[in-house]
Amino acid sequence: MDVEGLKAIGAALAIGLGALGPGIGIGIIGGKAMEAMGRNPEAAGNIRTNMILGIVFAEAVAIYALVIALLLKFV
């Protein structure tokens, strides 16, 4: 197998595995936020902004994986 092919596999694995954790995390955050909104609909606005903030921090991990994938693919 040539180096280019190995690089492509490495990039795919980096973002593919790196997206697993944040995916689970964002799912939990979203689910819990929906639960909270269902229990307390008046606080929906506040919960939504905090949910987005939480999602962003979970997503940052996926972004790091994306950076690695981009570095492998293009640099």
């Binding site: 902004t49 903030l53 962003v56 972004i63 994306l66 950076v67």
Partner: protein, 320 residues
């Protein structure tokens, strides 16, 4: 509801789309698969300074924002003291902008409290600049119209039919072409996002110093732990180092979050357009509109939260 869609205008648009489809099919024009380039390409040179397509688009975004601001404030009376009530009522575009800015101001106030007057101009500018930068990449023609240039040595070029790049590889001997777009969404250039991230992180330090003077740097170098023994002192020093690292890591996470999301979105759109043309791209264009807004909002909100955190004295949040 459905009947409203059958207007003359919509029919003309539909016919035009179908006509484009037929004409491009008849001419047998096939464009090459999208060339994904991580760095922005220079399109024009002013003196010795290479202007990249992302920088050019950033200037266009600035012009759009300035013109929008002028249009918004055009109807405002010069002399506010003697203005009639009816002159102050906004309408149309002004009304929309005022509604939007007021909404964001209310939200910022709920987070930042009394600091909102200091924070709001910066974060709102960041938000508007980013959201227009994200959306400008979704306009048809941005990224697809450009100069035909010879590729760097080693790269594969394509044959051009008139001004249109075709999918055929260049004939042996003749040099092929690649497309260098005139315009490119600024957020898909890392320089743009790093610049904004540096501004956001630097302003957080500035507001920290403005709020608590030199006491702000106690966060990074905390010697008060030595009062409770050497062990606690070393731990406090280490916590300070961690604070410094987290401050620097913010530059990376700010910039790569925006860049990664928008760049990945553009690549996704380009790839989808070649996998299943015309139809499947449409819902993803809607998704990218949403992502562009959310990422701008997230950048703004993180800047707001970090500004606010840096104005609060360290350790204060634990015992109040």
């Amino acid at each position: 509801m459905l009947k409203k869609l059958f207007t003359v205008r919509n029919l003309v648009i539909l016919l035009l789309v179908v006509a484009l489809f037929v004409v491009s099919g008849l001419l047998g024009l096939k464009v090459p698969p999208p060339e994904v380039s991580l760095a922005a390409e220079p399109v024009l040179h002013i003196g010795g300074f290479a202007v990249t397509n992302a920088l050019l688009t950033a200037w266009i975004v600035m012009i759009i924002l300035v013109v929008a601001a002028l249009i918004t404030t055009r109807h405002y009376p010069k002399d506010l003291d003697n203005a009639k009530n009816s002159d102050l009522v906004p309408s149309g575009f002004s009304n929309f902008v005022e509604w939007m800015v007021e909404g964001f101001y209310g939200f910022s106030e709920s987070v930042a409290g009394k600091w909102v007057t200091k924070f709001f101009p910066i974060i709102m500018t960041i938000f508007l600049f980013i959201v227009v930068s994200n959306w400008i990449g979704l306009i048809p023609g941005v990224g697809t119209i450009g100069l035909l240039e010879h590729p760097a040595s080693g790269a594969e070029g394509f044959a051009a039919k008139g001004a249109i790049l075709t999918a055929q590889p260049a004939a042996s001997g003749a040099e092929g072409f690649i497309l260098v777009p005139f315009l490119r969404a600024p957020s898909t250039d890392l320089n743009f996002t790093v610049a904004l991230a540096l501004v956001a992180v630097f302003m957080a330090q500035y507001f920290g110093v403005a709020a608590q003077k030199l006491g702000y740097f106690k966060k990074f170098l905390d010697l008060s732990g030595f009062k409770q023994g050497a062990f606690m002192g070393v731990i406090q020093l280490f916590v300070g180092v961690l604070e410094l690292i987290s401050e620097l890591a913010r530059i990376i996470s700010y910039s790569f979050r925006l860049f990664g999301n928008i760049f990945a979105g553009e690549v996704l759109l380009a790839v989808l357009a070649f996998l299943i043309p015309y139809v499947v791209s449409l819902p993803f264009l809607g998704l990218e509109l949403f992502v562009g807004f959310i990422q701008a909002f997230v950048f703004m909100m993180l800047a707001l939260v970090f500004f606010t955190l840096s104005t609060i004295r360290h350790g204060e949040e634990e015992h109040h």
